[in-house]
């Protein structure tokens, strides 16, 4: 029985991390109908920021997440200003452009920092864990999960309780009507892209505590995040969280009870079934 709980909890930690990564993607899609193909590369950049702060200045990921969050907030806004704002609303153009951005960022990092896997030594959380009964809870994953809940909670609070959040929702629902209310929707788009970047930047900042950094690290996370956003319902932050935890649990259960090589077959299989039954996702409008 304790083995079962171990598998469930491992799945939960993975799921909450996915939720944190997917939240920004979901927000950006919900507000401006843009699928940011470079989202996984934003994560990768966040990891490099955190890794090098640790490697060069001995900063721990528990501190560096602030820097990578801010860095990706700015990087997100820059992406909006230089790329997205010029082509917003032009059919597939934003998707194609962020695809190009993804390739460019990945290859730039590859070129500057080599394909080497980089592991941050002696971080505060490294190798630590605690026990709940017979179940092991690894501290890096646990702390990341707490961050995920805090960031998602904050995001949800901001969207539903603040005037800025209402303006974001209004912009998502009807941009022209929002402008007629006095909302500078251009500024909302800019900030939303920044906030989406910051969420994934925080995830990237924490990850070097337990995951190696390399140029391709964002790719699988990107795929999983796309899947979660589609499954949760495009634009729904709570939907993204629920779908993310589902994915984490399925991955963990299938990986343990069927076999590690089957875990993504199970995950993407169930994704397909969900989309076939509910094309708008579990919480879609």
């Amino acid at each position: 029985m304790s083995l079962f709980f171990q598998v469930i909890l491992d799945g939960l930690w993975a799921g909450l991390l996915y939720g944190l990564i997917a939240a920004g993607l979901s927000l950006i899609w919900g507000v401006m109908d843009v699928l940011n193909f470079a989202h996984g590369d934003f994560l990768m950049v966040g990891m490099y920021v955190s890794f090098f702060l640790g490697f060069l200045f001995k900063a721990d990921p528990l501190v560096s997440w602030v820097a990578s969050g801010i860095f990706l907030f700015l990087f997100g806004m820059l992406t909006y200003k230089l790329v997205i704002s010029r082509i917003l609303g032009k059919a597939m153009a934003p998707l194609l452009a962020t695809f190009g951005l993804s390739m460019m960022v990945k290859n730039l990092v590859l070129n500057r920092f080599s394909p080497n896997f980089r592991i941050l030594e002696s971080t505060i959380l490294e190798g630590r864990s605690f026990m709940v009964g017979d179940v092991i809870v690894p501290l890096p994953q646990f702390v990341t999960s707490l961050f995920a809940l805090a960031v998602l909670g904050l995001l949800y609070w901001m969207l539903t309780r603040t005037r800025f959040g209402w303006a974001v929702q209004a912009t998502a629902l009807d941009g022209e009507a929002a402008r007629l209310m006095g909302v500078n929707t251009e500024k909302i788009f800019l900030l939303v892209f920044g906030i989406g970047g910051a969420c994934v930047g925080i995830a990237g900042g924490l990850l070097p505590s337990y995951l190696a950094t390399h140029p391709d690290v964002g790719t699988l996370f990107s795929l999983i995040a796309f899947m979660i956003v589609a499954m949760g319902g495009f634009g729904s932050v709570p939907g993204a969280l629920v779908a993310a935890v589902m994915v984490g649990l399925i991955e963990s259960l299938a990986g343990f009870y069927i076999g590690p090589v089957y875990k993504y077959i199970a995950v993407f299989g169930i994704y397909l079934v969900v989309i076939l039954i509910r094309p708008k996702g579990l919480f879609g409008w």
Partner: protein, 239 residues
């Protein structure tokens, strides 16, 4: 009864993606007036209003409001200057509550007390909205949605409010009620520019009117002149 020129549109030309739709429209609205723009489907009534509201900008021509040139001013600053636009088909924020929709109408106001006071006034004008404050906008009836849209426009405390086809999709008894409200709004000191398909009803509550046809003004005059004009009666009232 009418005062200074509040809104002045001078020879604007507008189009979508380079295709011209408005070919030189001029009009003016004096403070305290109700002015109607009437015309057939596709004549360019909404395009004219959208341009005044700043959702699009004219290819040429000038728009002045309350003494300032607003020709190139973006929509979000125009509302802050006191010119509100209640767009065609209402365009409420469908998934937000009535109350949230109304508060969005006062988005340019920061003072909570002021927002609450305006909310009270909106509820006085449309008591049904008070009962429905927590309801999600899209679940209300067409008439209630139209009231919510007007109230949302009023939340910005405008000097001039533009109302685009209030009667759209409403049954006659509700239309009558909504048009009565328009008169009430004017009596509160807010100038009104409205677009209406129901020409007779619109002119009956208006001071003056403009008739627009394929992007140009073809008639203008006081409401009673237009109501008496055989051409207008024949073309727009089926008489």
């Amino acid at each position: 009864m009418s005062g200074e020129i509040l809104l002045e549109v001078k020879d604007i030309r507008c189009g979508y993606d380079g295709v011209p739709v408005i070919h030189g429209v001029s009009l003016e609205v004096r403070s305290g007036e109700i002015v109607a723009i009437i015309g057939a489907n596709g004549a360019g009534k909404s395009t004219t209003m959208r341009t005044i509201a700043g959702l699009m900008h004219p290819l040429s021509g000038v728009i002045r409001f309350d003494g300032a040139d607003i020709t190139r001013t973006p929509a979000y600053s125009i509302v802050a200057r006191g010119l509100a636009y209640v767009p065609e088909a209402r365009r409420l924020f469908s998934k937000l509550s009535v109350r949230q929709n109304l508060e969005m109408g006062a988005f340019t106001v920061k003072d909570r007390g002021e927002i609450a006071a305006r909310l009270d006034r909106a509820f006085q004008l449309f008591p049904v909205l008070k009962e429905r404050a927590g309801q999600i906008a899209e679940t209300m009836s067409g008439g209630e949605q139209q009231m919510c849209a007007i109230a949302r426009g009023l939340m910005s405390n405008p000097k001039l409010i533009m109302l685009d086809e209030l009667s759209l999709g409403l049954q006659p008894s509700i239309v009558e009620k909504v048009l009565e409200t328009v008169v009430e709004i004017r009596n509160q000191g807010i100038t009104v520019l409205l677009v209406e398909q129901l020409v007779q009803e619109a002119l009956e509550i208006s001071d003056r009117g403009y008739v627009i046809q394929t992007g140009a003004i073809v008639h203008q005059g006081t409401a009673s002149e237009l109501l008496a004009s055989p051409e207008v009666r024949k073309a727009y009232m089926g008489m």
